[in-house]
Amino acid sequence: MTMARYLRLILRIALGAVFAYAAWLKLKEPWQLFAMAIDGYKLLPHWAVILVARTLPTVELLLGLLLIAGPWLRYSSALLTLILAVFFGLMVRSYALGMHNDCGCFGGGDPISPHTLLRDGALLAGALTLTALAWLAPCARRSNTTSSSSPAPDRDSAPAQ
């Protein structure tokens, strides 16, 4: 196993676990609490706040479990990066505007601060790295398989080939 594959394995398990944990924290509480955190960003109309609050935790949970399980890594990592990029952008905007609202990332009581920005920035960097590895690795492996009679199966990206 190459270093890139180790890194990919660690990133997908770690990011998957973080997403599944964040989703669980939201799902175990009434959805209105997450809706209030979303509303604190002052961006979405009321109906959209409710829609996001009721669906996003489930999407996060499924995405987290998908990352941990491994299939469709190219697409799951790309979706993860997209979601984290949106989260991070909204947090930077709120912080820059001095809104002092809750992040809503891991349940309540988590106001946007340099600490939360650093944390979510690190998660976004990890997601970007994972996405890059997921999309680049199959090319590297294909070139390796030409000189190998029995290549090791790669569960991470099998369905994406």
Partner: protein
Amino acid sequence: MKRIALALACLAAWGAGAQPPATGKAVGSAKAPASTANPPVKLKAVGSDKAPITIEVFSDFECPACKGLHDGTLPLLVKDYVVKGKVYLIYRDYPLPMHKYSRLAASYACAAARIGRYAEVADALFLHQSVWSVDGQVEQTVDKVLTRAEAAKVHETFTDPSITAEIQHDIELGKAAGINQTPTMIVRHNGVPYPLPGGAVNYDLLRSFLDHLLVK
């Protein structure tokens, strides 16, 4: 703005007397600090302490978002839930160090609470926030809603160590609950605390949340 005062006046007669005064210990998310007094919560509360839901509002008189909550959300909450006996609303003073006069304002409000005039003084402080937060004339703002005799009593007691201890008690409760901004509401139902996101809260979402808890 007068709704809270009106509701307080109506409910004072209903809630007072027979029931023993509730204490911070009963509703706080942590034990009351041993170093401070445990002041009677009823002086700064609205509604019945037998209500299924308790909401603690940690607020700073000099904070604009607290004014928004006080003027916009709380009157609706009082009308729809407190008056109907569904919610027991407790005010907690949480003056932030960055606000020059907020502790002074909290001292006056707590002193007014001792003569049963907390709601009126709180209303006046929020109404004239933009004035006294600049010139520091808290006393004049408070006097506007008190009779001469009441004002004299408040001026006599606002520097009392027990008032300082009462405010400190609220601050310690807030710190123990992990509060890091104002306003913050902590909703408690069946002993389970639900800290709401800090800042002004959308009333439709709050109502949906409270209705969800009430049918649980």
